[in-house]
Amino acid sequence: MDYIYDGFKEAIKLLLGFDKEVYGIIYLSLFVSTTATIISSLICIPVGIYLGIKEFKGKKAFSRTLYTFMSIPSVIVGLVVAIILSRRGPFGRFDLLYTPKAMIIAQTLLVTPLILGLTYSLSKSRGKEIEKIGITLGANKRDIIILTIKELKVDLIVNIVTAFSRAISEVGAVMIVGGNIKNRTRVITTTISMMNSMGDYPMAIALGIVLLLISFIINSAIYSYGGED
């Protein structure tokens, strides 16, 4: 049991001592996951709102396909991105594989169905009423999308955070396309996974604590914002 206790002690030391490597990993994790979530949100929220309130042929089939993609395994996304970005792949000439950019691409693709699906479902159930009111007050399509985003902002923020949580906690995609290269593409989850297999627990525990802290801070912020609204 001592090794667990020592692991925690060492972890606290690493965090409080502002260990350069640990903080570099934390920074890259936050950077990659935040960028991926922002890119995906900017595209998927307006599109999801629009598709949710619009009636179109094959909407049921679209819903089912989208909901299926929401639970796509991260390793599959990683594999697809790795194939596309590999030297022999269609985007091989950009030399992106094993870079943070590749990790952002993979995580963007991973969270896109999630944000799109959650927004679409929200808009399908609550957007119609907002659209109806918007039309009666003279709003055009663009106004209605903006109005719906504003009206559903608390739920949309929860969706964004859900997607961010998926991004920051996944290990498969970033491991495949990033390669877990020290000081270059190593993030919290890939480090924890590697340290665990090496039996080096202090850094794994330290990063585990950080992951939990990030989750706690984000959830507290959302609950207080949602409560105020």
Binding site: K132, I135, T136, L137, D143, K150, D229
Partner: protein, 210 residues
């Protein structure tokens, strides 16, 4: 705005909800739409408001088919108000903002209508937290603020207190008198229709009675 309805047929699944051969809602008048529950009153209102396009027949607005400009010049007040998660004053100012009215002008016009509806104490409150009567007054104020040419009202005073009803009826009459805007109101209250309406249309099983 004059509304003419010709050969209107509306079906839900296979059941016919509306069957109106010829109906004219006179320009500048307040017309009451009465009839039993399920007679198709709200469906007709939704069709005229351009919210329901799934019907047979023709609806014309001053001789024109529905278009963007007509949408901008009419509004529908629902029985169950939906107010945005904004302040009361922002809710009322929203249709003016959509019409790109100058900020100062919005402030003035919102202030005026808030005064007329006697809701000065509510103007900074979050609208979605108001009571039923308060919400319905804000809902009507939001509809009237841009002086629509056609005002459609779906039982706007059901389940609210007599004092609020008095204020709302007064403002509907004032709107009609001052702007000559056409009003079509669905009501179950015969006394209210006598107080407000110039004309009455009776709808029964989707057909116009008189």
């Amino acid at each position: 705005m004059e509304i003419s309805v010709k050969n209107l047929e509306k079906y839900y699944s296979e059941k016919q909800i509306l069957d109106i051969e010829d109906l004219v809602i006179e320009k500048g008048k307040i017309t009451g739409l009465i009839g039993p529950n399920g007679s198709g009153k709200s469906t007709l209102l939704n069709i005229i408001a351009g919210l329901d396009k799934d019907f047979y027949g023709v609806v014309k607005y001053d001789g024109e088919l529905i278009n963007k400009s007509i949408y901008k010049n009419m509004t529908l007040v629902f029985q169950k108000p939906y107010l945005f998660k904004k302040k009361v004053s922002e809710n009322i100012g929203y249709p003016l903002k959509l019409r790109k009215v100058d900020k100062e002008e919005i402030k003035i016009r919102v202030g005026e209508i808030i005064g007329r509806f006697e809701i000065e104490d509510l103007k900074d409150k979050k609208a979605h937290l108001l009571s039923g009567g308060e919400s319905q007054k804000v809902n009507l104020a939001r509809a009237l603020v841009f002086d629509p040419k056609l005002l459609l009202l779906d039982e706007p005073t059901s389940n609210i207190d007599p004092e609020s009803i008095k204020i709302m009826e007064r403002e509907i009459l004032r709107f009609n008198e001052e702007t000559k805007g056409t009003v079509l109101i669905v009501t179950h209250n015969i006394e209210q229709s006598k107080r407000l309406c110039d004309n009455l249309i009776y709808l029964d099983e989707g057909k116009v009675g008189f």
